[in-house]
């Protein structure tokens, strides 16, 4: 029952915020600010995670290709596909669910408990539209770019660990990368990233916006935002894979 209550409230929340902004100039300024906060602010953590994800996937796939039945260069193909299809969009978005999601929920929650959201409403401003819509738009525009960046870095990370660990040469790795490349894999990753971005930003904002009480509740909302965003990312990962890649 609790799930349906939340789902209903979340849907109503979304319907309430998709309205024409009060002032387009202010709205675009807010959106740019949020894009900088989400994009530039997440650059470091995404870089770190991506390089290591690529590096680890090269080592682990390399370990499993010892039979000699599969050509060595295929390691590059497997690393490319596993990172583009799954690791870069999903792991990046799970990390962002923690970083961006908790930031959005705590910001909104603090604004709620300190009556800043009430102040907006009393001024005659649709607070959800003013505060949340720029965050969602910024997330939907920025997170897919971060995922593309993560794909590139993870492939580079894979090459570095392959060469450093003497698992594969650069030439063989590049040959693998260029073998049977399906451009749709990038589109698939971008569709996932866009969906995840929407889920992370909207679910986190929803939890922050509903905060009642004080500092303890802000912390609780932040935790709920991260947990629900991460669960939604995993569930939609399955749904989108089934729809877009399933037989």
């Amino acid at each position: 029952m609790k799930f349906f209550e939340h789902f209903g409230n979340y849907t109503m929340f979304l319907l309430g915020l998709f309205k024409r902004p009060e002032r387009f100039k202010v709205f675009s300024k807010q959106t740019l600010h949020e894009m900088s906060s989400i994009g530039v602010g997440s650059f470091g953590i995404v870089s770190l995670i991506s390089v290591f994800t690529g590096a680890v996937s090269t080592i682990q796939i390399g370990v499993q290709l010892v039979s000699g039945l599969v050509p060595d260069y295929m390691l590059g193909t497997f690393v490319r596909d596993s990172n583009i299809y799954e690791f870069s969009p999903t792991i990046t978005c799970l990390v962002l669910a923690g970083k961006v999601g908790s930031s959005i929920a705590s910001e909104m929650g603090t604004m709620k408990v300190t009556e800043q959201i009430d102040a907006l409403e009393i001024m005659g401003i649709n607070s959800a539209n003013y505060l949340v819509l720029p965050k969602i738009l910024a997330g939907v525009l920025t997170i897919p770019l971060l995922v593309v960046y993560a794909m590139v870095l993870s492939i580079i990370g894979g090459a570095i660990s392959g060469v450093m660990g003497d698992i594969i040469s650069v030439d063989e790795y590049v040959r693998g990368l260029r073998t049977d490349f399906v451009p749709f894999s990038v589109w698939f990753a971008l569709i996932k990233a866009t969906t995840f971005a929407f889920l992370i930003t909207s679910i986190s904002a929803y939890h922050g916006y509903r905060t009642e009480g004080g500092a303890l509740e802000v912390g609780r909302s932040s935790t709920m935002a991260v947990v629900y965003s991460a669960v939604a990312v995993i569930i939609f990962d399955y749904i989108l894979s089934d729809i877009l890649l399933g037989a």
Partner: protein, 242 residues
């Protein structure tokens, strides 16, 4: 003028406002007093539309606020200024941006005109050289004054102040009281003040409404309060050493 007619509000079956009717007059400091938990803040939130009433009517002039749509209410809300108990200043914005915020959202003023208006509002609340400071850099009294400056930026017709003196020293409290009173008279606005502070009430109150456990117990002018004959109100005053 604001009029409440038979407003009722319950939360989970607990009656918080019980059939309250009251009038708040233009150009006067209208005080709502009562113990903690008596329903003062809920009543104020109902009046500005942050909480919907279960029953009753709220009139701003001739406009029935309760039966208006969200968009129609927004038009009335643009005529409302509010000073929150915790000031509710936007902590990501500087003092200047806080006061300029409603001007940028709702007027077509040029940046120079906005800045002039911001400086005028700051001067009106006796603050200077604070434009670039952030709320976290301000004292409690300064925050309240910036809150008032933001509330009057759009020349409101109605000013709501929720516990304007809470957390302030007696001297600063008096300054804030004087400021609210001056603004009420100067701009001829309807000011509604929630307070426990009987000193404020006797210094600047015009019309008084006393609420006890969600019900209006007494309403009248300040001069009549001691002869009200309402034992609860007299006890409340006595407890406040008046």
């Amino acid at each position: 003028m604001i009029q409440l007619k038979n407003i009722k509000k319950s939360f989970n079956g607990k009656v918080v406002l019980d059939d309250i009717s009251a009038s708040f007059y233009k150009g006067k400091a209208n005080f709502v007093i009562g113990a903690s938990g008596s329903g003062k803040s809920v009543m104020m939130k109902c009046m500005v539309g942050l909480i919907d009433v279960d029953q009753g009517e709220i009139f701003y002039g001739q406009d029935d606020f309760v039966n208006k749509s969200y968009e129609e209410r927004k038009l009335i809300r643009k005529e409302i200024g509010m000073l929150f108990q915790g000031t509710a200043l936007f902590d990501s914005l500087s003092v200047e941006d806080n006061i300029a915020f409603p001007l940028r959202m709702f007027t077509k003023m040029t940046p120079e005109e906005v800045l002039d208006r911001v400086n005028f509002c700051l001067q009106r609340v006796n603050l200077s050289n604070v434009n670039k400071l952030y709320p976290s850099n301000l004292s409690g009294g300064m925050k309240k004054r910036v809150g008032i400056a933001r509330a009057i930026a759009l020349n409101p017709k109605y000013l709501f102040c929720d516990e304007p003196n809470s957390g302030l020293d007696p001297l600063t409290s008096r300054l804030i009281d004087e400021l609210i009173k001056e603004i009420t008279i100067e701009y001829n606005i309807t000011t509604v003040i929630n307070t426990h502070d009987m000193k404020s009430l006797f210094e600047m109150g015009d019309n008084i409404i006393y609420i006890y456990q969600g019900k209006k117990e007494w309403e009248g002018e300040k001069s009549l309060i001691r002869s009200s004959g309402n034992s609860r109100l007299l006890e409340f005053m006595k407890a406040s050493e008046f």
